[in-house]
Symmetry: C2
Subunit: 200 residues, 2 copies
DNA sequence: GATAAAATGTAGTGATCGCTATATAAATCC
DNA sequence: GGATTTATATAGCGATCACTACATTTTATC
């Protein structure tokens, strides 16, 4: 058996690719939620046995945390991606929602947002706390961004965007497709614009 | 031991109040989600043993179905309540969202909407199908209502309202309070009004 | 009160949960 | 190559999952 860990610089040598394992776990947690994916199934899908699993990740929640971080650091960070393209505040916000409409629909059994819905209804308080922390960080970034131009109404406007995204994630998990989500994203984008224009 | 079933006319006599049991189960499912509430806990909370449980409800999913129906037949049917008060279409829709903002925040450990989030991430396909059926019925009622005046845009507008409600339910389960939810509900109500005025 | 019917309590089914103790195999170091 | 360290596989931990067979008690009927 050969050590195949080529990506991570830190960490001990393992006979399996840790990053690849996190990727697989991310997909499983995303598809069915934290509680519905068991350690036995993770071991099978990852091709490792329980001791290796716990040596590498500490616990099921530990792997979930790594999956969450990987998720948030990739293409799922739609607000950062929208921000990177520049434009006005309203453009960035609407672009965020449109990216959600493209990212959230079901693909290969995966739908919605892992951070928003991955630990929904989970009985594990650790998993819930991990997801909550990342949710709060996400909405805080949006709030701070809005506050640069609208400090008074940043909370309310950020709440509106956060609720729209949570609703889009839930709707995608309930089967809504990209077209319908895009229509709603545009509506919410217009609403955001109009709220800005109303009293700005 | 005395037969205490006074409410239901049909059904066999039981030593416990079936309606009261459904109410208790509804609260438990609502608070933590379908999968996180076990039959053992239900039996304890309901004060009955497994055989009585299965004689009365058939299965855990059977009890969940009764809980869902009871939930949807009560004060949680916010769209029907909003419709009953009359007014314009926009008024009815905004009233629906404002009722959600009052109903969804956490009270006694219960938050959000049981239909929208009670079976979220559940591994039980029966429970998921039951909730999905009720979700579709709910959004269909809103769509049909909108279609009486806006047949062309009924689907899109109903999707927008459905997503807003799903987002509000998720946000409430994530800890958002009535005040913040109300602010967002008003924003969404204004957005709905403006969409109507835009091209009506 | 005897009999038939029905609901209940006791106990336990096999399966799965997250997780780990122990032992073996592999890789590293000198 | 021998010794030490590290990661692996085997097997199983106690707990909980939804659910049920069986015996008993309670209820209803006559």
């Amino acid at each position: 058996m050969v050590a195949t860990e080529t990506s991570g610089v830190r960490g001990r040598r393992r006979s399996f690719d840790v990053d690849e394992a996190v990727e697989t776990a991310m997909r499983l947690f995303h598809a069915r939620g934290y509680d519905a994916v068991g350690v036995a199934e993770l071991g099978t899908e990852l091709g490792i046995k329980p001791p290796s699993f716990y040596a590498a990740f500490g616990s099921k929640a530990g792997l979930f945390e790594r999956a969450l971080r990987r998720y948030a650091a990739g293409e799922a960070n739609i607000f950062a991606r929208a921000q990177a393209e520049g434009g006005s505040m309203a453009e960035v916000i609407e672009r965020t929602l449109l990216l959600a409409a493209r990212l959230y629909p079901e693909r290969d059994g995966v739908a919605g947002c892992l951070v928003l819905d991955g630990a929904r209804n989970s009985a594990d308080p650790v998993a819930c706390a991990l997801a909550e922390t990342m949710r709060k960080a996400g909405v805080a970034a949006i709030r701070d961004f809005i506050a640069t131009e609208q400090p008074e109404r940043a909370d309310a406007l950020a709440d509106f965007i956060a609720i729209t995204m949570k609703g889009m994630s839930a709707a995608a998990r309930d089967g809504m497709g990209e077209d319908a989500l895009t229509v709603v994203a545009r509506m919410a984008g217009r609403a955001f614009r109009r709220e800005l224009a109303a009293e700005g």
